[in-house]
């Protein structure tokens, strides 16, 4: 479909029709049997979330009539032995830091501070869920391999010396301290603190709600910056760290080797002054029932959010059902954050709810720091893989700052990247059909509420923070056409329409997926609900974010649980249904009659459901009380993502390195695979040599991703790369001929299907006498052969 007409309205005219069209055609034939190749949404037909304290969760796990299936966030408190039918999953919960008191007269020089941190770490008692680990990047960060040399094996636990232990700040998290550790309310030396990864990300402006998150959200260097940067007292240290961070965030590096060196330099810059240091981390241990009949299976565990993740709810299956069944989830504590998709859903319960009802364009891969396509598919273009600027079409649209109004970019504009998306549209839960305005309006809202500062009528700092990357880099968006695809299920054919959209960005990267994550043209909430929230905030009914609510002494906007807000919102809907209100930004995209129809649908929806949580996700809110929320599955075939889509993330395989040896210019790595084999309603863990035909429990071949890092004695990364599978099933590093003579350490890991969690890392020391590339296979092999 061509879009070269004069005005945006005209340009979009052909597209201002429903983007979703599912038509069932049932020919009177007998061409299909029972096997249904596609089922919309995911396994449970109902998800019930209940707030339970740890004692209550322990009781409900052994409830005979309706047992709890999973307890999210923390471990239940069992009065006796843990029941045999329960299993647990571990993930990174928090980072434990020691911060030096800048006022401490004893710790004014760097050496004293570094020593105090070491002494403080040695004074900690580590309960079973705490791992002493004096480095910010942990085995639960996908970039751990690149820092493997920073934590020598066996050096994690520091031994106390005869020097006096520093005094700890009273009131901080002292539960980890040994009883002998001195604690003072004033004149303390160090503060022991624990920061949850989720809180760290929230503070960094990452909400895991309707906004896209940066691709590096789960990476260690990013989290280290958020955690340690505030403690730097010297302007020069801050400037150095900021400069390195910005270079990483803006992809200002030549290649992966330089990128890794920048990340390591950033860590060094954050740690050099010994003002704050990570001394360990705590694991989250979450339990679920593995009972033969009443248990659950197909579990995907996010490395950092554990079972509170979008992919978990998209893979979990009740054993007693091939699909369907009611999943009972317990969570602690009670939800406190408001439920609005713009700056709400920020606590654990909120994130879980959004992962159930919302449906972002991309979802975090549970076991690494990448993202998987959900409602967006990236299409290859002529520019794909080429790092050069492109022209932005004159008729591409850009939202204007302050107003959010869309205007053509006009002639003479360029961008560093173009991303071509194919979006999977579907109906919203109020029955409204997804239209281009729904896809574009989040851009308008982001620009409108992020400019002008606190004195502006339309400003929210949390929206500004969450959308900064997108606003900085977006250069234009253009609706290209709508594609139709048909899906035949049994004897019925469903037709889906998918908008094809170009997005232009100023972003330099080698990674096309990274570009795609910055500004996907997508929303899981229709434009009219976004507009309703905006008006509510403008009229002082509530504020989008917690911080603005506190600053303006307003309620935090909630689409569900505050009767007064809901009453005010319903009155607005009635008003808008009369007037056909649409925001100024959409006046060229949505006509008054179409707007009226939207408000009427919303009015009917709230009348029937008594809430405004309207989304296009895989589940819908069905019922709730203060402590229980019930969601029902969307089995309409208009929903385009189906059962089993994310099953590859459940029960991931893990590589175990058996041996490493050098053979001339090669380093050869032998590895086993440890993987779950599905059997009846259970799994068993199997270890076998890693071969091309090694199959996972899903009978899919395991795809190894192998990486190596070569680090010189100066601590610089000399080379990074991948390993190549050999005919004998070993993996080979072909040592780079550019490696200068010297002594190096090579670290290698194999991530099966991309699983980076707690990897087995092999290491071998290399002495390069300058013969690489010259001596053949028998060359300079005077290395220490090591097993991991």
């Amino acid at each position: 479909m061509s879009l070269h007409a004069a005005s945006p309205r005209a340009r979009l005219g052909g597209l201002v029709v429903g983007l979703t069209c599912a038509v069932a055609i049932a020919p009177p034939s007998a061409r299909a049997d029972h096997a249904v190749s596609y089922f919309p949404s995911f396994y449970p037909h109902e998800i019930r979330i209940e707030t339970l304290d740890p004692e209550g969760a322990a009781r409900e796990f052994i409830n005979k009539n309706n047992p709890l299936h999973v307890y999210v966030g923390t471990a239940p408190r069992f009065s006796g032995q843990i029941p045999e039918h329960l299993k647990s999953a571990e993930s990174l919960k928090s980072l434990i830091t020691v911060s030096v008191n800048p006022q401490s007269s004893r710790l004014q020089n760097r050496e004293a501070r570094c020593h105090a941190i070491e002494q403080a770490a040695a004074a900690l008692r580590a309960p079973p869920d705490v791992v002493m680990h004096p480095y910010p990047i942990t085995p639960y960060h996908a970039d751990y391999l690149g820092h493997a040399d920073r934590l020598p094996p066996g050096k994690a636990t520091r031994q106390p010396t005869a020097a006096p232990v520093p005094t700890f700040r009273a009131g901080a998290d002292t539960s980890l301290l040994s009883p002998q550790a001195p604690v003072q309310a004033t004149d303390w030396d160090v503060s022991l603190d624990e920061t949850s990864v989720s809180a760290l990300l929230t503070d960094a402006g990452i909400g895991f709600n309707d906004w896209p998150a940066p691709r590096w959200t789960k990476e260690g260097w990013f989290q280290a910056y958020q955690l340690l940067r505030p403690a730097l007292s010297q302007a020069s240290d801050r400037e150095q760290a900021d400069e390195l961070f910005e270079r990483l965030a803006h992809n200002e590096f030549r290649d992966r080797t330089e990128q890794l060196n920048l990340e390591r330099e950033l860590l060094a810059a954050l740690l050099v002054s010994c003002e704050r240091a990570v001394v360990g981390y705590r694991l989250r241990r979450e339990f679920y029932t593995d009972d033969f009949s009443d248990g659950i299976e197909n579990i995907s565990v996010d490395s950092q959010s554990g079972l509170n993740s979008a992919v978990f709810v998209r893979t979990v299956k009740l054993k007693d059902f091939l699909w369907n069944g009611s999943l009972r989830i317990g969570i602690d504590p009670r939800p406190t954050a408001a439920w609005n998709p713009i700056a709400g859903f920020t606590d654990a319960a909120g994130r879980l709810v959004w992962s159930i009802v919302g449906d972002n364009a991309f979802l975090p891969v549970p076991y690494n720091s990448r993202w998987v396509q959900n409602r967006a598919e990236i299409r290859t273009t002529d520019e794909s893989g080429i790092r050069r600027s492109v022209r932005v079409p004159d008729d591409a649209l850009m939202p204007q700052s302050m107003t959010g109004k869309f205007a053509p970019v006009g002639p003479g504009h360029g961008a560093m990247a173009k991303v071509l998306y194919r979006m999977s549209a579907s109906n919203f839960s109020d029955g409204s059909v997804m239209e281009p305005a729904d896809l574009l309006y989040p851009f308008a809202l982001a620009f409108r509420w992020s400019a002008g500062g606190q004195n502006a009528a339309t400003y929210d700092p949390e929206i500004a923070a969450a959308t900064r990357l997108m606003r900085e880099r977006l250069r234009g968006v253009k609706l290209v056409r709508v594609e139709e695809t048909a899906r035949t299920i049994a004897d019925q054919t469903f037709t889906y329409r998918s908008p094809i959209i170009e997005v232009y960005l100023d972003n330099l990267t080698f990674d096309e997926q990274e570009d795609a994550l910055i500004a996907p043209p997508w929303s899981s909430v229709p434009w009219h609900v976004l507009a309703l929230m905006e008006v509510a905030v403008e009229r002082g009914i509530a504020a989008f974010s917690r911080s603005e609510a506190e600053r303006r002494h307003l309620p935090w906007l909630d689409l569900l649980r505050d009767p007064a807000q809901l009453k005010a919102l319903r009155a607005l809907i009635k008003e808008f249904a009369q007037t056909g209100y649409r925001p100024a930004a959409l006046e060229l995209l949505v006509g008054p009659e179409a707007a009226k129809a939207r408000w009427q649908l919303l009015d009917q929806f709230v009348e029937a459901n008594d809430h405004l949580l309207v989304t296009n996700g895989p589940y819908r809110l069905k019922a709730w009380s203060p402590d229980t929320f019930v969601f029902e599955v969307v089995r309409e075939f208009t929903y385009p993502v189906g059962l089993g889509t994310f099953n590859g993330f459940a029960d991931p395989a893990r590589a175990l390195i058996r041996a490493m040896e050098r053979a001339g210019d090669l380093v050869l790595v032998s590895a086993d695979a440890e993987f779950a084999v599905k059997q009846q309603r259970d799994h068993r863990l199997v270890r076998a040599p890693l071969q091309p035909d090694t199959l996972r429990g899903t009978l899919q071949p395991i795809r190894p991703e192998s990486h190596y890092v070569i680090i010189g004695q100066d601590g610089r990364v000399a080379a990074v790369g991948g390993l190549v599978r050999q005919p004998d099933n070993r993996f080979a590093v072909s040592l780079p001929t550019t490696l200068q003579p010297g002594v190096y350490t090579l670290f290698a890991a194999i991530f099966l299907d991309g699983n980076t969690i707690n990897p087995a890392i092999g290491r071998i020391e290399l002495r390069n006498g300058g013969t690489i590339g010259k001596a053949g296979r028998t060359g300079d092999a005077r290395d220490e052969e090591r097993k991991p």
């Binding site: 007998a30 009949s293 091939l322 049994a490 075939f637």
Partner: protein, 460 residues
């Protein structure tokens, strides 16, 4: 047509319907299972190039519950054959898999790619009846020797490939599902008059409804359909259908709802006491994996297995081929096989047997034509009983099985009652060769439907 008055018991006996622990596969001249045979030395020079096989099945999506057992059966057979040196002792099997969930168009492309680029020697697998009618003609066009493990629609041979040369199918034909269920119900509960139906609202449900009714009405005079429930695809709440069926005061409720939908339905029906208010018969309640149905499932209902194989049939080691197969399958995969496992496993052995027989005749690696000649009309021992490949339509025929649900201590899931297995020779409930296809003198849903309608007596 003039109605004949035939006694029901006599007619069921005539059909060969047997029930009880003594039920066993149709008597066929004793033969050794191929998997237990030590092949004679091959004749002539056999190349040692690997044999490339394509196996397409559902690896993702809801139908993966059927696809995984199929691939497991295939892999088990391939591993066994390779351990013996390969087919004719020389050619080891290499399997290329494809995910059937890619969609019919993509599957057709994949078959072309497998044949033209990968040069496969045999194409196997395929679960969905939505796919076999699309793949069958392509297999014929490409000259790709194909043995479908499932995709059991009558339409494949009735319409899509009426005169196959390269395409075969090992599973029982779909119309047998409804007919088998009807025969089992008629034999067990001949007094029922009022029948309520709950079927999924797509072609499988309609096929089961049609074939159950035509067969049952012939066997039990004076029956009446008092309720029809057609849950839409994706239904999770079956309450309306359950209560509608119950309120019609039926003697018997018949259903072909399957998989996770069936589990949801029976659990909801338990709450309403549906299984206490009427007899219940399903074409496919136990038609997924044996471990799929829990012990809360009602006992004593007809729990169909898609008119196919069941892992405990016949009980008591009356069919050593099955006992051996189940033991090997369990040892390899730590679970029990379903009908897809049986079909995929024996597909390879059937092919192996055909190659060996052809080799005896011609020497060397036989031409495809010679292998096809051996497959046509082959009697072959499988875990499900003896399989006969009808030469005219290349359809596999083996006894249909169904039975009654029962909890036993040996298994943590519900199984078919070993003492009350029902078996029916499939050829006696399927249209004979050259019976007119739909559109050739009649417009009934299938040839079998028309054959039953036209030829079965109305019993007294």
């Amino acid at each position: 047509m003039e109605q004949r008055n035939v006694d029901r018991r006599s007619f069921l006996n005539n059909l060969g319907v047997t029930v009880g622990a003594a039920a066993a596969a149709t008597a066929i001249p004793a033969m050794k299972p191929a998997s237990a045979q030590t092949p004679a030395a091959p004749k002539g020079k056999i190349p040692d190039a690997p044999l490339r096989l394509g196996h397409m099945t559902f690896l993702t999506g809801p139908a993966a519950v059927l696809g995984e057992p199929s691939l497991k059966g295939h892999l088990l057979a391939a591993e066994e054959i390779n351990a013996q040196g390969g087919i004719l002792g020389k050619r080891k099997i290499e399997t290329i898999t494809a995910d059937e969930a890619a969609g019919t168009d993509a599957n057709v492309k994949e078959l072309r790619r497998m044949k033209l680029s990968e040069k496969i020697d045999l194409f196997t697998g395929v679960i969905s009846s939505g796919n076999t009618p699309a793949l069958g003609p392509v297999a014929e066009e490409l000259g790709a020797l194909t043995i479908f493990v499932d995709g059991c629609t009558d339409f494949l041979w009735d319409k899509a490939v009426p005169n196959p040369k390269f395409a075969f199918r090992i599973t029982n034909i779909q119309s047998a599902d409804g007919v088998t269920c009807a025969l089992a119900a008629a034999q067990t509960w001949p007094q029922v008059k009022r029948i309520a139906h709950i079927h999924p609202d797509y072609s499988y449900g309609r096929n089961a409804f049609d074939h159950f009714n035509i067969a049952f009405s012939k066997l039990v005079p004076g029956t009446e359909v008092v309720s029809e429930g057609w849950p839409k695809l994706g239904t999770t709440d079956f309450t309306a259908h359950i209560t509608k069926a119950m309120s019609s005061n039926p003697d018997l409720i018949v259903s072909s709802v399957w998989g996770g939908d069936y589990v949801a339905m029976y659990k909801q029906a338990l709450r309403y006491g549906m299984f206490n208010s009427a007899k219940f018969a399903s074409t496919i309640a136990f038609g997924v994996a044996p471990h799929a149905i829990g012990k809360d499932h009602p006992e004593g209902v007809i729990a169909g297995v898609h008119a196919n194989y069941y892992f405990t049939f016949p009980p008591g080691n009356r069919w050593p081929a099955n006992q051996r197969f189940v033991e090997k399958y369990y040892k390899r995969w730590n679970e029990y096989p379903n009908f897809q496992s049986d079909g995929a496993y024996h597909t390879l052995y059937m092919y192996k047997t055909a190659v060996e027989k052809a080799n005896k005749l011609t020497g060397g690696w036989p031409e495809e034509e010679a292998i096809i000649n051996q497959l046509e009309g082959m009697y072959f021992e499988t875990a499900a009983g003896d399989l006969y490949i009808r030469p005219d339509n290349h359809q596999g025929y083996k006894d249909a099985v169904t039975g009654f649900s029962k909890n036993v201590a040996e298994y943590p899931f519900q199984i078919l009652d070993p003492a009350r297995m029902i078996t029916i020779p499939i050829r006696n409930i399927t249209a004979p060769p050259r019976w007119p296809k739909p559109g050739s003198g009649h417009n009934d849903p299938t040839a079998t439907y028309n054959w039953i309608k036209e030829t079965w007596p109305q019993v007294a």
